[in-house]
Amino acid sequence: MSRVAIIGCGMTSFGQQWDKGLVDLAVAASLRAMQDAGTESRIVDAVYCGNMSSGMFTGQEHISSMIADAAGLRMVPSTRVEAACASGAVALRQAFLAVKSGLHGCVLALGVEKMTDVSSTMSTRILSAASSQDYEASIGATFPGLYAMLARKHMDRYNTKEEQLAMVAVKNHDNALANPYAHLRKKISVDDVMQSQRIADPLKLLDCAPVSDGAAAVIVASEKIAGKADTPVWIEASAQSSDSISLHHREDLTTFKASACAAREAFRQARTGLNEIDCLELHDCFTIAEILALEDLGFAEKGSGGKMVEEGLTHVGGKIPANPSGGLKAKGHPIGASGIAQAIEATWQLRGTAANNTSPSKVLTHNVGGSGATAVVHIFGR
C-alpha cells in the first residue's frame, strides 16, 4: 500500500486568547496549514476535526461544517471526532485512514479547543466529563484527582518521588522557553513546583498542564501528492487502543495498558523498534503522565520512569528527548488541539525547523484520552 505524509502544518499560539473564538482559532490554524502545504484549498478532499467539548465550553456544536465553511472548504465532507484529550490524534488517524484507503488524496486534520470562556471551576467540571459521569465525575473525582491517585499508587509501589514528578515540569518549561507557540514560557525550579498551590495531593499547580485556547492543523496527503512537496514527513504508523473509562475497572493502577498496546501495534506497523526512535512527544497532561508514558511505551523499565527523568535522559541533548516542544505541560493543552500539535512538532523536528531541534530520524507521538481510556501512538519518519 502506498505511503501517507504530512505536507503542511499550521497552528495558533496556545494560551488565553480572549479576542478569538473557537472557529477563529480553527480557521487560522487550517489556513496556515494549507499555505504551508503550498496547495490551494480546493484540493482538500475531506476534513477531520478533533474537539472534546465545544458544546460545554462554548455552547456551539456542529463545528465541523462551521469550520470547513469558514476555511473556504464548503461541500467537502467535514467530520468532528471526539476522544477527550486524544481527540486530535484520533482526528489525525481518521485522516490517515482516509488517505491510506485511497478514497481521499488530501485531507485536513485539525484540532481545536476554546477553554477560557468559562470559569476555572466550570472547566474542571467539563474536563471531568472525560471520565465516568455517574461513577467518577459526579461524586467529585476531578481529573487532576484521578491522575493524583495514579501518582500516589506509583509513589507507593515504586518509590517514585514528588521531586521526580516536579523534574518533568521543570524540563518541559525549559523546553517551552524557545517555543514561540507555547503558553507557559517561564523557567521554573523543582522548589517552585513543590511550593506551588496544592491541587489534588500529591499533584500541585505546576504539575498540571494549563487551561489553554488553541488550534493546530496538518495536511495529510497521499504518496502521489506528497511526492511533489518539498519536505514530506511520512506517517509510518498510526495505532489506537481503548481501555475501560474508569480507573476502578483496570487491573493495574500504575500503567495505561492502552498506551502499551497502541505502542506495540505502532512498532509493528512501522517495522521498527524502540532503539530507532530518537525523539518523543508524550502526553504529559500531568507530570505523572509523562512518567507513565515513558514506562508504558517501553523507554523506561516499569517503575523507573521517575529515575530516568532525574538522570536527565529525557532532556534535549539526552539519550531520548521527551517533549522538546514543552509538551502539554508548558506548551499548553487546548484539549482537542494537543494531538495535532504533537504531530506538528514531530514534522518540524524531522524537517529540522523545530525550536529545540534534536535532529531525529524517527519521532514517536503519544496522545491519551481521559485517564487512559484512549491511547494513540504515531511514528513519523523522513
Partner: protein, 152 residues
C-alpha cells in the same frame, strides 16, 4: 413515548413522588452497591455489567456488595468543585478525599472518604461504605444520595 416512560415511572413510585430517570435508574448501585455476578465464571463487577468483562457471558445475576474493603489509592482534592450560581453542588467538606477502594469481594470502586482527616488516610487502610448525601441542586433540584466510605 415520553408518556409511556412517565407511566412506567409513576407505577414504580407512589403517587406524587417524582424521581427523574437518571437518579432513579442508578438507585440500585448508589443505594445498595448492586453490581453483577457472572454465572459462567463467577466474576464480580460494580456497577452492573451487560456482559462479563472477563469471559463475555451475558448470563449475569445481580450481586450486592458488602461495602467493606481497603484503600487502594487516594487523593485530597483542594480545587473547588462548587461555585456560586452553579445548580449542582457537591455535598462534602472542603478539601475532600477521594479514594479507589478494593472491595473485599474483589472489584474496585471510586468514592469519597467521609469523616476523616487527611493525615489518617493511607493505602491499605480498611474502610466501609455508608449512605450519605452526594449532591444537591442539579437539573432536577433533588438531593442525591449514594455511597461514601469511612475508615473502619
Amino acid at each position: 413515548m415520553l408518556a409511556a416512560q412517565e407511566q412506567q415511572r409513576s407505577s414504580t413510585f407512589s403517587e406524587g413522588e417524582k424521581v427523574p430517570a437518571r437518579t432513579w435508574r442508578n438507585m440500585p448501585s448508589f443505594y445498595n452497591l448492586t453490581g453483577s455476578r457472572c454465572n459462567g465464571c463467577s466474576h464480580l463487577e460494580f456497577p452492573k455489567a451487560a456482559a462479563c468483562r472477563k469471559c463475555g457471558s451475558q448470563d449475569l445475576s445481580e450481586h450486592s456488595f458488602s461495602g467493606t474493603g481497603k484503600i487502594e489509592t487516594y487523593t485530597i482534592i483542594r480545587q473547588p468543585f462548587n461555585e456560586e450560581g452553579m445548580a449542582e453542588q457537591l455535598v462534602c467538606s472542603s478539601p475532600y478525599a477521594i479514594a479507589i477502594v478494593r472491595l473485599d469481594e474483589g472489584p474496585m470502586i471510586t468514592a469519597q472518604l467521609a469523616d476523616c482527616e487527611a493525615g489518617e488516610i493511607a493505602i491499605g487502610k480498611p474502610v466501609k461504605a455508608v449512605l450519605r448525601k452526594i449532591s444537591e441542586g442539579g437539573d432536577d433540584g433533588l438531593i442525591r444520595y449514594g455511597y461514601k466510605f469511612v475508615l473502619a
